[in-house]
Symmetry: C2
Subunit: 141 residues, 2 copies
């Protein structure tokens, strides 16, 4: 369990700027902390993995980046949320294929109704960011 010292960056550091610029350049793509580390390493820029984890945490805190936990024994998945996406009323849902592991993004009004329904009928405020639908994709079923 991580110590919740609610880190929200206050300084504009070089590393933070580099990371943010990179994330902004890959909207909708999802990546792991290790992916980011490798990416910069390949480009001759070394950013410590702790910095990556810490900045990622800040971004998630700030809502700039979403974090998905697909299954316990794989690394967490991150995804940059563009300001447009942020502004959109459309919510993005995720479906994970249990067989091939594919992660599918869905934007669907009908699914958004689930949210309203859960709130109205079950007093539960759904967090679509965290929720992943498991099942089988069309190729696998």
């Amino acid at each position: 369990m991580k110590t919740n010292t609610s880190i929200r960056s206050k300084y504009k550091t070089k590393q933070r700027a580099i990371l943010l610029e990179y994330f902004e350049s890959v909207p909708g793509v999802h990546f792991t902390a290790a992916d980011v580390y490798e990416y910069f390493k390949l480009h001759g820029i070394t950013i410590g993995q702790s910095t990556i984890y810490r900045q990622l945490e800040s971004f998630v805190d700030e809502g700039i980046i979403n974090k998905y936990i697909i299954d316990g024994s794989s690394p967490a998945c991150f995804e940059y949320i563009s300001p447009e996406q942020h502004a959109e009323t459309e919510i993005c849902f995720h479906c994970k294929c249990e067989k091939c592991g594919r992660l599918i993004h869905l934007h669907c009004d009908e699914l958004e109704e689930i949210q309203a329904h859960l709130l109205a009928e079950h007093n539960f405020r759904l967090n679509p960011m965290r929720t992943v639908f498991y099942g089988l994709c069309e190729d696998c079923m």
Copy 2:
């Protein structure tokens, strides 16, 4: 990533029997692998943790037990599914409160429509057993 050697137990071992009996005695309760290990240790019965993990995996495979991944850096959560629960035509959905950790069971026709919708419109066959809705329960929001 775990090696998917689709283990499904074929032998009735003592450990498996002990574990199953225990799980059956705590329907609806959720526990971690470590909880199980500790429980038996306290009762003077030592079952290796690998056995616990392996049996848990089998039970999950067989649909006797559900596994929930709450967040990457906490242990996975398991829950025994009673035969009655299993036999119900109603599908049981789970909502997990991100704050207090409460796991809420829901039986709801409207939610079942999600399933039909995902299949018809998105070619995705939802597995309600594996899927957990994350959000905030009424007490926490």
